[in-house]
């Protein structure tokens, strides 16, 4: 039993995953790179994302590397500021939904019985909703906007974590070290937090890594539909949406789309490789399909 338990991830394990694997190393670079871009946006961006200029819809040039949009705003600057929105939302959503999922799954798995039954049936119910459709309904109902888009995405995002954690807790509940803790007189919350939780960090990290990419895609889709981030805030999804109106300006949708692809692909690659290292039993399963 002990041998089957995943070890908590260590920095050294990530380093091991990176060594001799250039694909992983470059994916890590891209992923961390976008995080840095998001953090340092005001320092990197050549111009304000909102500053308008008389150069409307000008193609890429020395002055505007990625061209300008229909209001003469610098696409590169908007792209860099857009990273802030996308990366922040994705991180918040993933953090919050993994916490909610961990609580639901942990409680369900540890206590079992009708608690488990009720919680997991509810999880199934939420799970079965098609994401974009519910997000569409939620944002349409609550009114378009970033906050409501995040709420919509949050409502939908926790079930996979709940399932993962529940499965793991069910498996670990009967193991010797958990029984030892219980015999020592540790309370249920203490056992869950101190003895079981550290064993979940590996699979959770794998799932969260891929999920960050998924959530960037989903938020971009919602913003593309005009229901998420609103003008004039710079955002990748709504920048692509602008491109639908100006087919002649290929640079409008191309660059924000490439930004999405690079960050999502990097996280997918990271997740794949981390799974090999942190989750050898494959409890997080194959990655999810596109929408």
């Amino acid at each position: 039993m002990i041998g089957a338990i995943a070890r908590p991830p260590r920095v050294s394990m990530v380093a091991r995953a990176a060594r001799g694997n250039p694909l992983f190393a470059s994916a890590l670079t891209v992923s961390v790179g976008w995080l840095v871009v998001a953090l340092a946006a005001p320092l990197i961006a050549p111009a304000s994302p909102l500053a308008q200029s008389p150069d409307l819809l000008v193609g890429p040039s020395a002055q505007h590397w990625f061209g300008t949009d229909e209001l003469g705003r610098d696409v590169l600057s908007r792209l860099i500021w857009g990273a802030r929105v996308s990366v922040t939302i994705a991180l918040i959503v993933v953090l919050a939904s993994s916490l909610i999922g961990a609580v639901v799954g942990g409680v369900a798995g540890y206590f079992g019985g009708w608690v488990d039954e009720a919680m997991m049936r509810f999880t199934d119910l939420v799970f079965a909703f098609p994401g974009v459709i519910l997000a569409l309904a939620v944002t349409a109902a609550l009114g378009p906007g970033l906050r409501n888009a995040v709420i919509a995405v949050l409502i939908l995002s926790w079930p996979p974590y709940a399932r993962l954690v529940r499965g793991q807790v069910l498996m670990l509940r009967g193991s010797e070290f958990v029984m030892m803790a219980r015999l020592r007189g540790a309370s249920a919350p203490r056992t869950l937090l101190r003895d079981i939780a550290p064993n979940l960090t590996g699979p959770m990290l794998v799932m969260a890594t891929v999920d960050v990419g998924e959530k960037i895609l989903l938020v971009a889709a919602i913003s593309f539909l005009g229901l998420g981030v609103q003008q004039p805030t710079a955002d990748w999804g709504s920048m692509i949406a602008t491109g639908t109106q100006y087919l002649e300006a290929w640079w409008l949708p191309t660059f924000p789309g490439l930004a999405i692809v690079t960050v999502v692909l990097a996280n997918n690659l990271l997740g794949d490789r981390l799974r090999d290292v942190l989750d050898p039993r494959g409890v997080t399963g194959d990655r999810r399909p596109g929408r």
Partner: protein, 366 residues
């Protein structure tokens, strides 16, 4: 939230029924089908209730979104609007009424089109069905062979390339790809028409199924058929992209799973040709998973249509849902979401049941 996710979840969850291969499972039972069916009904009710609940706890006001400026400042006009669409009734009363009308096939009247939502949906469903079927057809036609190649060339350059490409395919937003394709193939190269289902002013074929390609063939209008196919190819291919990536990955996994089975080794050992082994043993063994994943891809295509139809001005369910949502046309949003979700969960139900039917191991096991 997507489907293979569900199958993933099930792997970690020993007590639930999964859509992915299980070595031993009891034969498909009536109880299982009934339970899945009931779960589907509960889910559909939940969908109506959630959408309904949301539309009533709203800061956004449908009256002001749908009335003109003059009418909006006229309290009487606003009150009349609210009364017409029952916006002032109690929550449960409204929901009860909604369900009752639903039972009679009445989804309300769209604020936008002033048509019954059901007839709007019926008008647009064939367009989405046509697109979705074409997309899944393409996904299977391309994804399955690619997956087989990837598995048979395991760990060789071709495999690495295909795995990277399929992972990229899953990381690309379909609506973006659609836009770029439109820009390139329509705007720059002029190879494909720029959206819609037929050329501007083109007369749709007499309606039999509502799917233009099929109708044109049935009524023998070859010109219209060619036009319709031209308009269909690009959006279908774009919608197929995630499905192609998905099928490549899962076919690869399924083939690798089967290829190491004893019966495949036995077939090779008794001297059958490699192509025969592949066709008769490997591909057949991988079929249940391929069918399952194709079903999941079909369900996902319906959902993705909301994003992609808009790009191609394809007047199907997806663009209807989108246009209704931005106009806060609640009856229409509710109807469209209900309709797409219904299709989605029904396909999932069929896939789950079908999986039990096509998996030969179940028949052998019983």
């Amino acid at each position: 939230m997507t489907n293979a996710e569900k199958t993933d979840g099930r792997q970690t969850d020993g007590r639930r029924r999964g859509a992915l291969p299980r070595r031993r499972r009891s034969p498909i039972s009536v109880a299982f089908v009934v339970r899945r069916f009931l779960a589907t009904v509960v889910l559909c009710l939940a969908v109506t209730f959630v959408v309904f609940l949301l539309s009533n706890v709203i800061p956004a006001d449908p009256a002001s979104a749908n009335l003109g400026d003059a009418a909006r400042s006229d309290p009487e006009a606003v009150a009349a609007f609210r009364a017409k669409y029952h916006l002032d009734d109690g929550l449960l009363t409204q929901y009860g009424e909604f369900l009752q009308r639903l039972a009679h096939g009445d989804l309300g009247t769209s604020i936008q089109t002033q048509q019954p939502v059901l007839s709007d949906l019926a008008d647009r469903a064939p367009a989405t069905a046509e697109l979705a079927i074409a997309a899944v057809f393409m996904a299977v036609l391309v994804g399955v062979p690619l997956g087989m190649v990837s598995a048979l060339k395991r760990d060789r350059p071709a495999d690495h390339l295909l795995r990277t490409v399929s992972l990229t395919g899953m990381s690309v937003p379909a609506f973006w790809l659609g836009l770029l394709a439109l820009q390139l193939f329509y705007y720059r190269l002029g190879w494909v028409p720029g959206g819609g289902r037929l050329p501007v002013g083109g007369e749709p074929p007499p309606s039999v199924t509502g799917m233009y390609t099929l109708d044109a063939l049935l009524t023998g209008r070859l010109g219209t058929f060619t036009d319709a196919v031209h308009h269909l190819i690009l959006p279908a291919l774009i919608l197929a992209t995630p499905g192609i990536a998905l099928l490549t990955r899962f076919t690869r996994a399924a083939v690798l799973d089967v290829i190491s089975e004893d019966y495949v080794r036995a077939a090779t050992a008794k001297g059958l040709k490699r192509s025969t082994v592949l066709r008769r043993y490997v591909l057949r063994g991988a079929t249940p998973l391929v069918i399952t994943v194709s079903g999941l891809a079909l369900a996902n295509v319906f959902v993705a249509s909301v994003l992609v139809e808009q790009v191609f001005s394809w007047s199907g369910l997806g663009s209807y849902a989108y246009q209704s949502a931005v106009r806060l046309d609640f009856p229409a949003v509710m109807g469209a979401c209900l309709c797409i979700t219904l299709v989605y969960v029904t396909i999932n139900l069929v896939v789950d049941v079908l999986y039990g039917v096509v998996d030969p191991r179940i028949r052998v096991g019983s």
